[in-house]
């Protein structure tokens, strides 16, 4: 882990409000898939907190870190206007990340909206797995990176809320139709928080581990300030864990929804 400067190499619009940014650092680190980077917003003294983004790709040799983000507020709006050569401060790699072992041969990735970005990092970390991927988007216009996911997946299923591309409906609908055929050893998931409750309910009928990457308003990003907590249930007792340090990846079973 380090706090270091990054230079913007590339900052391009993928579609709508979604951008891809490649950053370069002279202090590259090893990153586990699902970990994140907390970055400052340059030239905005009014925005004092760093912003957390999943590391979508990283290359220690090339000293690069790639993130994708959606413009949702002042911070991401300012980020989207950065040009190549501009410098920002970043802390990385943070959080626990997705962990797979030898028993996980068939992996099902479930990604909703901008939640697809952390999942992309899994392919490179664990290249020898058989991946089935289900990605959900609002509509055809908001579909991004489908080609990239297709390249690494044995099978890619797309669904959209309005049916304008792929199957109509939510990821959980697609999961219900396909899980018995895919027979995954593990499911890795990231998406809007409202999908986790139906997912948890449905998966309670299966003995398949499901790991989700959570999001919460964050500050330090290293586990000290305790502002980004989420409720978990352990041994029948509910308490808080830090999304930034104990997560962002949690076993869906223990997440209190």
């Amino acid at each position: 882990m380090t706090e270091t400067d990054f230079t913007v190499i590339e900052n391009i619009k993928l579609c709508g409000d979604v951008f891809k940014m490649i950053l370069k650092t002279e202090n590259p680190q090893d990153v586990i898939c699902g970990q994140f980077i907390n970055i400052s917003i340059p030239c905005r003294n009014d925005l004092i907190l760093k912003r957390p983004f999943a590391v979508m790709d990283s290359d220690k040799g090339k000293k690069t870190v790639t993130i994708c983000y959606k413009v949702v507020g002042k911070g991401t709006d300012s980020l989207s206007r950065l040009k190549g050569g501009e410098v920002l401060s970043g802390v990385y790699p943070l959080g626990n990340g997705f962990k797979l072992d030898g028993s996980h041969k068939t992996v099902l990735l479930l990604g909703g909206g901008i939640g697809i970005f952390p999942l992309f990092s899994v392919f490179k970390c664990y290249p020898d797995k058989k991946y089935h991927t289900i990605l959900g988007f609002k509509n055809k216009e908001s579909v991004v990176l489908s080609g990239d996911f297709e390249q690494f997946s044995k099978e890619l299923l797309i669904c959209t809320d309005d049916g304008s591309m792929g199957a109509k409906g939510f990821i959980t609908d697609s999961l219900k139709r396909n899980i018995d055929r895919i027979k995954p050893d593990i499911i890795l998931c990231c998406g809007p928080s409202q999908m986790y409750k139906p997912l948890k309910d449905f998966m309670s009928g299966y003995d398949i581990p499901v790991y989700v990457s959570l999001e919460e308003r964050m500050a330090c990003g290293i586990g000290a300030c305790l502002v980004c907590n989420c409720a978990v249930t352990e041994n029948g007792k509910q308490h808080y864990k830090r999304v930034c340090k104990d997560g962002p990846v949690f076993n869906l079973k223990e997440v209190a929804l």
Binding site: E3, N45, I48, V91, R217, G223, A224, L226, C228, Y240
Partner: protein
Amino acid sequence: MADLKVKLCGVTFKNPIIAASGTFGFGREYAEFYNISELGGISTKGLTLKRREGNPPPRIAETTSGIINSVGLQNPGVDAFIENDLNWLKQHNTVIIANIAGDTEEDYCKMAEKVSAAGVDMIELNISCPNVKKGGLAFGSDAVSIKSITAAVKQSISGGIPLIVKLSPNVTSISAAAEAAQAGGADCISLINTIGAMAVDIKSKRPVLANVFGGLSGPCVKPVALKMVYECSRAVTIPIIGIGGITCAQDVIEFMLCGATAVQVGTANLSSICASKKIIDDLNAYCDDNKIKITDIIGGLIV
């Protein structure tokens, strides 16, 4: 290397930079980034007699040049701190300040007994946390209760460990609060704690924080804090630790000119993990460049 040493109530700090309570945990997370022995001191995460889970999320809202938090004193409890964290902290060459918060006067006294027996360098009385219903602020909002809680806790401390009383800015008169702490036997005061605040989400028409109210901190509170530190420095003779929106060496110098002997850096640690370390480096350069020692600055404001 300039002389950055300051002395507070007989305790020597290698420099005037103290990590503020609630932004630094017990130091472990920051120790993964830099040597926390470089700090003048560390004020621990606010401790309570029993473990506290804190408030539900969201616990933070960013506002213009500031943040509003409502963590609600989540901590493992004073016994767990002593058992699991204090010895680790003691391995570092920095002043350890136990920040304690209670629901009742009895809680405060019990904790003061425990942490003084366990051996901390100083105790900071948190009577100004705006994020818990009972205790905290209830003790810090009027002069009579500030004096009586300070006196009671002072009696519970063994070994002559100095007592710092952390003052709330959410009062009518900060100098009256400072005088009350001094009258109760405080060895030092620290101020300001966060300012009561809230944030609203116009899309959901709901407060951003689950707790509705929180405490404002960060650069936006610095002018308020400077004024209050200056007012207190004229009202009391005990030393003052200045707190409020410090992000750089210049801010530290401003607080020291206004009468602070040392300062606490809080929110800046969240903006930049290595902020406190950089402030110390910059203070060192400032004193070298000006050929002064840090204590030359204290109370030097020309009015």
